[in-house]
């Protein structure tokens, strides 16, 4: 048995180290270590509840709006208020802008560059991958960064700046969009759609969104295998058998994204749900059954895993048996995977259902689900922008009680994000955050059960002489991890 310590892991958000036990060219056991701690949950204690709206976006520079949305929802829950329709639409537009930017950034800057590595020099697609995706010189890398910059100008208007916008409030949006701005924003949506349709898909978004099965996807690929960047990914994926890499736990969690006004039966544009592959069943997530276990984290233990409203975060860097700053979140005691696959399973998208049925959650399925979301959500954003009613309110005034609790559940690009807060004497007595990568990159719990990535790495091939195995890199990055959110 050989042991390999892989790090720093770059092209992920934040700090990550992976420890691997290797036998006969395969990973036997993996430990995932988030190597940094900042203590936002400690910093928030004693603050005025609304000050959380300044602090929490700064948990994360890549999904700061997601943190804002979860915090605003938790405060709204505490106050017992809702946003007016305009405020909800603007908040959704901002969250969608960030989530789609994350998918784009992940595909072009974080994930695809691994196919340009020297280890793949003999592959027929390698030269094309280098031409398109080599860091700093890739032609498509340049196009994608430029498209991303233009895309974020939506947030210049909607939120003043990105990251760390503070325009999302429990009562709605601090930025009211007028008629002329609405038209300008629509034109920017069209610009991004054009980028996706020209460069990523080489096809209309609606054609991608309408894919019903992997067979259909592969037939579409084979018709023009060199056209568009998504097809080149599929070429690489088939050649490298990426459907065999990084199997997930088969239990998927989505809290639901983009709450819609006046839709009591289907309150989210992307549904909430817990999908269990083994039984092909979909149920609503039970937030009361969420706990965090700190057994292997450098944090003080409770006697048992705690629900976030009871949760505590007290660092203990000398704790025996600990190997990460991340706690182990569990849903009714079970390990879950969260992210675009979970959202699309909950929303019953046929392509993702078919991919999961055939291959489970794996490197291939994770990338397909994210890319599909780009095709699905841009048209939704067009409809939300058109639904804005300038002149109608964007913000509802509210009063926070001096005592109470609040829960804010949302979806970041990487999956289910929850904020829980307890207020006493008008101050924050406790604030606990469970981020998507906290679920996916969980350490072992008290029962020794590995987290989703830890399990997904078992069996990964390690080539002779590899110190940062390329298969491990694909698997880790397929989750699009955000370590700064994880450890917060």
């Amino acid at each position: 048995m050989a042991r390999l310590l892989v790090g720093p892991f770059n092209r992920v958000e934040g700090d990550l180290e992976v420890s691997l036990d290797i036998r006969a060219g395969r990973v036997q056991r993996a430990q995932v270590n988030a190597t940094m701690y900042r203590g936002f949950e400690q910093i928030l204690q004693g603050k005025l509840p609304t000050d959380a709206l300044v602090y929490v976006p700064r948990i994360c520079g890549i999904c700061s709006v997601s943190q804002s949305v979860a915090s605003a929802k938790a405060l709204a829950d505490l106050a017992g208020i809702t946003m007016p329709a305009n405020g909800l639409h603007v908040s959704n537009l901002m969250l969608a802008t960030e989530n789609l930017a994350d998918h784009l950034t992940h595909f072009y800057l974080f994930f695809m560059p691994d196919f340009t590595r020297g280890v793949y020099a003999s592959r027929p697609w390698h030269a094309e991958a280098v031409r398109r995706f080599a860091p700093s010189t890739g032609e498509q890398t340049r196009e994608a960064i430029a498209a991303r910059q233009r895309w974020f100008t939506l947030l210049g208007t909607l939120g003043g700046k990105w990251p760390h916008t503070q325009s999302i409030e429990p009562g709605g949006s601090s930025r009211a969009v007028d008629q002329a701005e609405r038209i300008r924003l629509l034109s920017k949506l069209r610009e991004f759609r054009a980028f996706l349709e020209r460069h990523l898909f080489a096809a209309p978004l609606e054609a991608i969104a309408a894919m019903r099965s992997l067979d259909e996807l592969w037939a579409w690929h084979d018709a023009a295998p060199n056209t568009g960047d998504f097809r080149l990914f599929l070429t690489c994926a088939r050649d490298l058998d990426l459907q065999l890499l990084g199997p997930g736990p088969g239990l998927y969690l989505s809290f639901g994204a983009y709450a819609q006004p006046g839709h009591s039966s289907s309150p989210h544009a992307l549904a909430s749900g817990v999908w269990r592959s083994a039984t092909q069943s979909l149920v609503e997530p039970d937030a009361l059954s969420i706990t965090e276990d700190a057994t292997h984290a450098w944090l003080e233990d409770a006697a048992m895993p705690l629900h976030p409203l009871q949760g505590m975060t007290v660092p203990n860097a000398d704790k025996a048996g600990a190997y990460t700053w991340n706690k182990a979140p569990r849903l009714a005691g079970e390990v879950v995977e969260t992210g675009a696959i979970a959202r699309q399973l909950a929303s019953r998208h046929p392509l993702v259902h078919d991919a999961v049925a055939q291959h489970g959650g794996c490197v291939l399925t994770r990338v397909i689900a994210r890319v599909l979301e780009l095709a699905l959500v841009v048209p939704m954003m067009e409809s939300w922008l058109k639904a804005l009613q300038p002149g109608e309110p964007y913000f509802n005034a509210f009063q926070l009680p001096d005592e109470g609790v609040g829960m804010g559940l949302s979806e970041a690009a990487r999956g289910a994000l929850g904020h829980w807060l307890v207020v006493k004497n008008g101050r924050i007595a406790n604030y606990q955050i469970v981020a998507p990568t906290s679920w996916n990159f969980s350490p072992r719990d008290a029962g020794g059960t590995p987290g989703a990535l830890e399990k997904a790495l078992e069996g990964a091939p390690v080539l002779a002489g590899e110190k940062s195995p390329v298969a491990v890199q694909h698997i880790v990055r397929s989750f699009d991890p955000c370590m700064v959110c994880t450890v917060h």
């Binding site: 892989v6 790090g7 720093p8 770059n10 092209r11 934040g14 700090d15 270590n33 190597t35 940094m36 701690y37 900042r38 400690q42 910093i43 603050k47 609304t50 000050d51 709206l53 602090y55 700064r58 994360c60 520079g61 890549i62 700061s64 950034t105 800057l109 974080f110 560059p113 860091p135 340049r142 960064i145 430029a146 991303r148 910059q149 974020f152 100008t153 210049g156 909607l158 939120g159 003043g160 700046k161 990105w162 990251p163 760390h164 916008t165 503070q166 325009s167 709605g172 949006s173 601090s174 930025r175 009211a176 007028d178 660092p315 300038p390 002149g391 964007y394 940062s468 890199q473 700064v484």
Partner: protein, 337 residues
């Protein structure tokens, strides 16, 4: 512009959120890497942008430390985490077992310039909030006290102190122009303000160019989020005191905090994370905001404010507490001259 050797930039992240890197990628250009190349800048390594991982980076760091690779600018993003108990173990550079503060101390010793990217690296920033559980500090400051990780006397090989490109996040234009100026040998000690921020952005105030200017003139004030009025009187806005050009050099195309409808919270200034009052409310004494515009004597401010309030046009007053124009400027034959 100099020719010849590339200007090598090594970028590392510590106790922050990565937001300054994400902001950097929003730079207003159609060719991000081309712009760097044209300026002679070579990114030795950046956590979001480089292919090299794990052992490849560790090898690069070793070559930087023994002089085989020249580091022209060491850019640090995020606060330096000294805890617990001075060990630095709140942030260990993955794969190395060595605290990041030790890496930064060593690399700062070989770098031509040391650059703090963002308010965390400059002063400690948001990471140093409340009781500062990680004992976070900046490279050469702890809030507004000089010292920080490297100490008050630290000078990089160029003879310059740590250059503080403060902001939360920092603006991509501030970073790129600083690096380009350094690469072109156009940024000297005299180009830094008393807190070692580049003067080209820090000699301006956020107030300059604020679109709520007419409301400010008449002290016609916003009372809740989404109102159009001036946010200084009630909403905690510090734009008249804060050093940055946010309202003349816009964010993400056409934004700024005040244009987004929320207060300037002074994110380029040391200690902004603990204002001592609610971020969204203006502290006052006898109805007068305690934080008055830079350079303005208090008595004059009070006198002018009461005068301008009494002269506020009905239109400005009505619009200040609405989220859209409820009264538009009258159209008259004014015979403008």
């Amino acid at each position: 512009m100099k020719t010849g050797e590339p200007f090598n930039v090594l970028w590392l992240q510590s106790g922050g959120c990565g937001g300054c890197s994400m902001s950097l990628l929003c730079a207003d250009t159609t060719d991000f890497h081309g712009q760097l190349r044209d300026a002679g800048i070579h990114l030795l390594w950046h956590p979001s942008l480089s292919l090299e991982s794990g052992d490849e980076l560790q090898d690069l760091l070793a070559r930087a430390l023994d002089g085989r690779v020249q580091v022209n600018a060491l850019c640090i993003e995020g606060a330096l985490l000294r805890g617990p108990n001075g060990t630095g173990r709140f942030h260990v550079l993955a794969g190395t077992g060595i605290p990041m503060i030790d890496w930064v101390r060593k690399l700062a010793g070989v770098a031509q310039h040391v650059v703090a990217v963002g308010s965390c690296a400059a002063w400690g920033g948001i990471t140093a909030g409340a009781s500062n559980p990680t004992d976070a500090c900046g490279l050469q400051y702890e809030d507004d006290r000089i010292g920080g990780l490297l100490g008050a006397d630290f000078r990089s090989r160029s003879g310059m102190p740590v250059i503080n490109i403060a902001g939360c996040p920092t603006h991509p234009g501030w970073v790129l122009e600083s690096l380009m100026a350094l690469a072109a040998d156009m940024l000297q000690a005299q180009d830094l303000d008393p807190l070692a921020r580049p003067r080209f952005y820090a000699d301006h105030l956020v107030h300059h160019g604020c679109t709520r200017n007419e409301f400010y003139e008449f002290k016609a004030s916003a009372e809740q989020p989404s109102d159009r009025g001036c946010m200084m009187e009630h909403m905690g806005c510090k734009g008249t005191q804060v050093h940055a050009d946010c309202n003349t050099r816009l964010w993400n195309g056409e934004g700024s905090c005040t244009r987004g409808g929320y207060a300037c919270i002074a994110c380029t200034e040391p200690g902004f994370q603990e204002p001592g009052h609610a971020f969204g409310h203006t502290p006052k004494v006898a109805g007068i905001p305690i934080g008055l515009p830079t350079d303005m004597p208090k008595a004059w401010f009070v006198a002018l404010a009461s005068l301008s309030k009494s002269a506020t046009p009905k239109r400005v007053k009505a619009n200040a507490t609405a989220d859209h124009l409820v009264m538009t400027p009258a159209v008259r034959k004014t015979r403008l001259r």
